[in-house]
Amino acid sequence: MFGFGKKETAPDWLATVQETEQRWFTFLDKLEARMAELCEAAIPELQQMMATDDDQFKRTYLKVKAGINGQLENIRQKAYDAYDEKILSVYRNISDGVSAFSPYHDVISDFRDRCSDRYHQQFDQTYNTWWDKIAQTEQEDLEIKYNAILADYKATKNDFHCSQCGGNITIEKIYFITTHLACPHCNTQNTFEPCTQARSLEHIARSLAEQRTAHLLQAYNDELSRERDLYHQRHILHLSMIHDKIKDVITQKKQHEAELENKRQASIKSAPQLYEIYLREMFNEWNKIVPDIAEHNERFYQSQLKQFRATYQ
């Protein structure tokens, strides 16, 4: 009635499916090769531009980086369109006419799965890897900038004179905004305008503090993935018990499961603490770099902490 037991001859779409799959794989291979070629050429270029771009905001570098990212995005878009056009349409056309009882039904769904995995796993992973590598070229050691500001301050702090009486005015600390300084000799209020470099201190301070405390944030992220890891370990162990019949084995596994769960609970407890340690330490570093805005930062810290705690409850 349903054609049970009747041996089906190979349908004529079989060749189409095989050919489409092969073409798809070659196509993605080519796109990946093009991404590799583009990025391998661009990365040293970008690194060099990042190091040599004189612009305060590295705008030339950023333009080129945006261009490269656009090219990468184009390549991904090609894969996206082709997947819809070449793979899914073939799948839909054929699978509509194939009975679920047909021995060839699996062939067509396996075809779709293989093509999808090749695209959504392998291709996308390659894309993400290149994207991250391009993003990494933007990383800059802010300590160098900070040290340059400190050195500039030390070298010039005694170079200023009152514009009224000519007396020497020592700059007591790094000012990053325009400020009034009283001349110690004639008491005139001088307007001190810091140089562009010193002004940038305020802008790099947070990033520098984050750079200095990156290991603490990493510790928090590691704890998060440890929790996930323990959860999956326990899950696999739990599933493996389904067919176990021997009592001793089951008790042993259950004990192991409980141990894993305890560890996981401990991890869940310690993760937010690690984040709070990071946050405090990051703000401490930030305040060390720009003590002038410590008071303002303290309020910011409190609000960040409150927000974090709210998401954990």
Partner: protein
């Protein structure tokens, strides 16, 4: 080989274009730190702090009309009475 050359020149071209492109908002010129004084337009005296910063310490001419609020270096107390 020629493919590589073509691609290198593509990145090069992009770089060249970026370098030639004018930045929105113009060039940024780095400025040196400097010291300056405002002299009072009324009596010509240098600006000094008597009871505050907003009025001239010598003739009482009002430099600014706004009321100062707490900032990093200037505080509320710096308003002349």
């Amino acid at each position: 080989m020629s493919e590589e050359k073509k691609l290198l020149s593509f990145v090069e071209k992009m770089k060249l274009k970026a370098q030639q492109q004018k930045n929105y908002g113009g060039e940024i010129t780095a400025t040196e730190a400097k010291m300056a004084t405002c002299t009072c337009p009324n009596c010509g005296a240098g600006r000094a702090k008597q009871d505050g910063l907003t009025n001239c310490a010598y003739c009482g001419h009002a430099f600014v009309d706004v009321k100062l609020t707490d900032g990093l270096h200037i505080k509320k107390e710096d308003n002349s009475k």
